[in-house]
Assembly symmetry: C2
Homo-oligomer: 418 residues x 2
Amino acid sequence: MTAPTLEEDLEDALDGPAAVDGVGVPGIRRARAWLTRAAEPGSVGLWRWVDAVGPVAAVRALRAGTAPDGARALVGARAAEDTSLADLRRAERCGARLVLPEDDEWPALPLHALALAVAGRDGEAEQADRTTALVPPVALWVRGTGRLDEVVDRSVAVVGSRASTAYGEHVAGELGHELGERGWTVVSGGAYGVDVAAHRGALAAGAPTVAVLACGVDRAYPAAHSTVFSRIVDSGGLLVSEWPPGAAPHWHRFLVRNRLIAGLTRGTVVVEAAARSGAQATARRAQRLGKAVLVVPGPVTSAMSVGCHDLLRDEDVGARLVSNAAQVVEAVGGLGVDLADPPPRPGQARDGLTDLARRVLDACPVRLGVSAERLAAVAGCDPLEAMRVLPGLEVGGLVQWTGTGWRLAPPPERARDG
Amino acid sequence: MTAPTLEEDLEDALDGPAAVDGVGVPGIRRARAWLTRAAEPGSVGLWRWVDAVGPVAAVRALRAGTAPDGARALVGARAAEDTSLADLRRAERCGARLVLPEDDEWPALPLHALALAVAGRDGEAEQADRTTALVPPVALWVRGTGRLDEVVDRSVAVVGSRASTAYGEHVAGELGHELGERGWTVVSGGAYGVDVAAHRGALAAGAPTVAVLACGVDRAYPAAHSTVFSRIVDSGGLLVSEWPPGAAPHWHRFLVRNRLIAGLTRGTVVVEAAARSGAQATARRAQRLGKAVLVVPGPVTSAMSVGCHDLLRDEDVGARLVSNAAQVVEAVGGLGVDLADPPPRPGQARDGLTDLARRVLDACPVRLGVSAERLAAVAGCDPLEAMRVLPGLEVGGLVQWTGTGWRLAPPPERARDG
């Protein structure tokens, strides 16, 4: 059986958005898939036109050469090409899908800020600066099993320098871990340095994390992070991209992509940033989108904190200094919901503990497991005593054996997929 | 010849404030000297009463037992004692003097903020909290040759933790040095840690610096800083105290003293501060006095920066993040005067330089001298070439041989005593 042409699928779509079972795909899906390859995202003019006439009519007009000049110029020779069906199937093979604004899982609420921004602007002026325009995506390629809207509902961007210092990576990792433990999704760019440290921290907490990529979701860029990307997908997190499978990570795509990191989240935390850096640009976009701009300070002697301090000194940005995850959650959390410290671990399990067990429990680190000997040293008891109480603490769900050591168990009340 | 009694000097003062040559001292001076020993500073009620009736009448009333109850209670049994003449002579022997509000060199302009604060407050309420009340001093014991008003005219407080880290001391030292080079006086408390690092930085720049002490100006507290205190006096700086010579550094005196550090300066820079620390308290007083509150951030992983970050997060304080001396000067400097970078070194001397000489000059550090070999490495030339141009740069007043290495000469245009 031959697959239907793009025009055949679009013809069905004009009759109604129902799927053509088994052979074609709904025309709207195929139209938006085609647009993600035919037109680089970030164009206010194109987005507005597609929004006005609808994706199916827009693609038909582009294919037929009857689209407005601006749209035709952007698409150019790619108007004659069509790999939309292949792209959708390629996505399916790697466990990805195309999420449309028409889908239930579209993160309409966070992205509403981008839609508002594009509504309030002069398209002509924006056209000249496509890399920084605040414009919604026409669709998102998403790899992973979680619902996009649910995973990013309570999310924070953690961004920073690729050339980060040990300090920046430590802070990003701790933030990622603690935000994950508090039930917040860390969104970042999957890049070297601060980005991957934040992702790794969230992964260590067993929390979903989202990498918004500047290439296809089936590609690992940088290649060194392919394991991290796999772990993100396996841990209930998502890989998200505006570009179709196989798309290459061109430089300008990173700049265009950055607005999505700010747009999908409730706030952006800048961990380390050099002067005039991409992380600063992301923070300024978050501010333009009305989202919280949070900045981690660092030593004034560190070039990697100059951009952070510049942001904190810039009154137009209105950035807020944050030192830890609790302060981040306080800034982005719901009014009155996230103001306090995280709820203590369940009372019942902890209440019955002996003084010794309590001391050993208090000695357990949050993240990296340590030996019973080390716990005993911190708790001020004999290693054998520590080893005696640890199994009980494990059964009570209070501590966890990581394979190499003991650490606190993540709070059971954290919703993993909501 | 017998020295006149306090009452005899005060009697003269009532007839007019002229000095009794050779034997007595002007009554106002002796009255205020007596008050600095008889009454602990920081009492709003006492200050107001002295301000209303005048120091001579106030002391006569206290001596005669006819003063208001509040004042009598504060002075207590000390009303019967008089070491004022001995205190004034002891001061003279160590190169100190008592500076009165009636003197030309009284820093009336900066201290006006304290006078305003005391005018706007309820004396009864303040009486309960003498350690933090914003009240002017009745007089200041000053050791050093500079005029107090001139030395503190363009001054900045640099304060912070005694238990500072290497980072805090480095930053305080650099700030002290660069503020000194820019013609600003660093005021601090002479304590361990940030205080002394800031003083030392200013001293290294050959700039006057002021230590406001919580004991007599003839005492070195801490004793380890006696050399620093001597160097302060020898470098055109000042030791300042509200307490008479010989007074001991009681703990509560440090708290009372802190308001003067904020009060004498145009702004306070907090370099490192633990949570709920004295440096934070000084910063909050600077804010209540309408002076700039400037805060140096640090690693969020450092307990010694927690207080700094708390200040920066507290919107009521309105603190401004600063990373270097230029940003400090921009915040406290005169409008339009200090906004730019410091003026370049004199054009004539620098203009005629060869490319090689210019490169060597640019390689010279500001503070610690380095070898010609090191300069050559930075300038990208042969050590012999560097050694060839250095004498010319020295004659031109552009570089300086420190005894151990070469560094930039301090700008000749900086006023050392004004």
